[in-house]
């Protein structure tokens, strides 16, 4: 059944056909699709890439090893999509890449996807003794990203900080939470973009509802 979809991808002779073929493959939700979906990320077809990203995110953690393995020697476009997959799954095996992307990638769309993803990490998959350090690094990166020149990256950093704060609350890391809350207040008072201020206020409201 899946061979049919893979063949359709290889034989697609138009962009819309490719997109449909990839969607069909992604919808099949089978692990055998992983290598092909990863290949599609490098095809320079945004519609197909989006479908492949969604498919890989749905497949989840099981897709991570293949994704990380094929990241080296990738074209930049494929790498950008792969960062999106990592952000969507939140597997800590992708954490270092996400930290680097949020802070340093030259494309704002990659920085924003990574920043959001940093609020979505499946911390429980880390060894207990690694969690503290990993969360500190994540906090530091998100704090820095909350000062990005691009409004949408700052917006995404706030989303990330909200997610991280929720997790820190569960682990009772009050100092770190206070740092985040303080930063949110600063943003509300000082950011020059209204939408960013609003998102910080929303984060503050949601966090206070959950007791942070």
């Amino acid at each position: 059944m899946i061979e049919k979809f893979i063949q359709a991808i290889e034989e697609a002779d138009s962009a819309p056909k490719l997109v449909k073929a990839v969607r069909d493959l992604a919808d099949a939700q089978t692990t055998e699709a992983i290598p092909v979906l990863i290949k599609v990320l490098g095809f320079n077809n945004p519609g197909a890439a989006v479908a492949a990203v969604d498919g890989l995110i749905s497949l989840g953690n099981i897709a991570i090893p293949a994704l990380l393995e094929q990241l080296d020697g990738y074209n930049y476009g494929a790498r950008a999509w792969a960062i999106r997959v990592l952000a969507g799954i939140g597997d800590p095996r992708g954490l270092n890449l996400l930290l680097d992307a949020a802070a340093n990638d030259f494309a704002l769309s990659v920085r924003r996807a990574a920043a959001k993803g940093l609020g979505n990490i499946q911390w429980a998959l880390l060894a207990t003794e690694e969690i503290n350090h990993a969360q500190s690094q994540t906090l530091a990166t998100l704090m820095k990203t909350s000062q990005d020149v691009e409004w949408v990256v700052r917006y995404a950093a706030i989303v990330g900080l909200q997610g991280l704060a929720t997790e820190l609350f569960n682990r009772q890391e009050q100092d770190a939470i206070d740092q985040i809350l303080k930063r949110l207040t600063e943003i509300i008072e000082q950011d020059d973009t209204l939408a960013v201020k609003a998102r910080a206020l929303l984060a503050q409201q949601k966090l206070s509802v959950s007791g942070c």
Partner: protein
Amino acid sequence: MQDSDLGSPAAEIAVGDSVFTIERAIADLLHGDNSSQYYAAWWLGKFRVNDPSVVDSLIEALRDESDRTEAGGYPLRRNAARALGKLGDSRAVEPLIECLECPDYYVREAATQALEMLGNSSCIPALIKLLAGGVEEAVMVTGKPHLVQPYDAVIEALGTLGATEAIAQIQPFLDHPMKRVEYSATRAMYQLTNDAIYGDRLVAGLQGQDLQLRRSVLMDLGAIGYLPAVPVIAKTFAENSLKLIALKGILEHHLSKTDDLFLSSDCMEVMQVMDGLL
């Protein structure tokens, strides 16, 4: 790039390897060769250097005669107009209105957009004049890739400026054969009448076949702040970056503009959609 204090004349902004100061930009604008002038004009607008002497120099550049294209265009004037739109100095309004009669289409277009940004309604009569002849005369110029006038820019500017006196002239353009012009008229009519029928027409445009048009409709919806567009924007086939910009426009339109930031449930929903597109 680092932002420095742009108030000081010695302020520097590092662009790549070179350091380009405001003083250098002004010097280039006044005395440089054509390509330095062109770059300086762009740079001063990009970095919002609204120093009065900068504005003076850019206004002078609107009358430049030395920088010409083979086709007779005035590239420096175009860049000067664009920059003046960003600097928010209303002394530029009158000179820009004069530019609306420049033989160079792209100067007229840039001046129109600059006047829209400056937001001074004194330009409205001059803009309305550009619509003279209506849809019948709004045709392509032979041998050129553009219409007789920059109708889309003119109509959009009239919408932004709240020129309700222009409704009668704008309305016929709802039936212009070019979609881009039709959408500009639709957008302006929404801004001028607040009638949802126009907002809904734009929303329908999000499902068109042409990616470029979908992109520009996204920008239109963000500019007019049309809230009912939000769920459709989320699913539009276009780059998330543009959808986010459109949603930002809608969000900011609806946020309370008082000192107290207040999040209505509508605003929270828009942000929820934005979160999903990051």
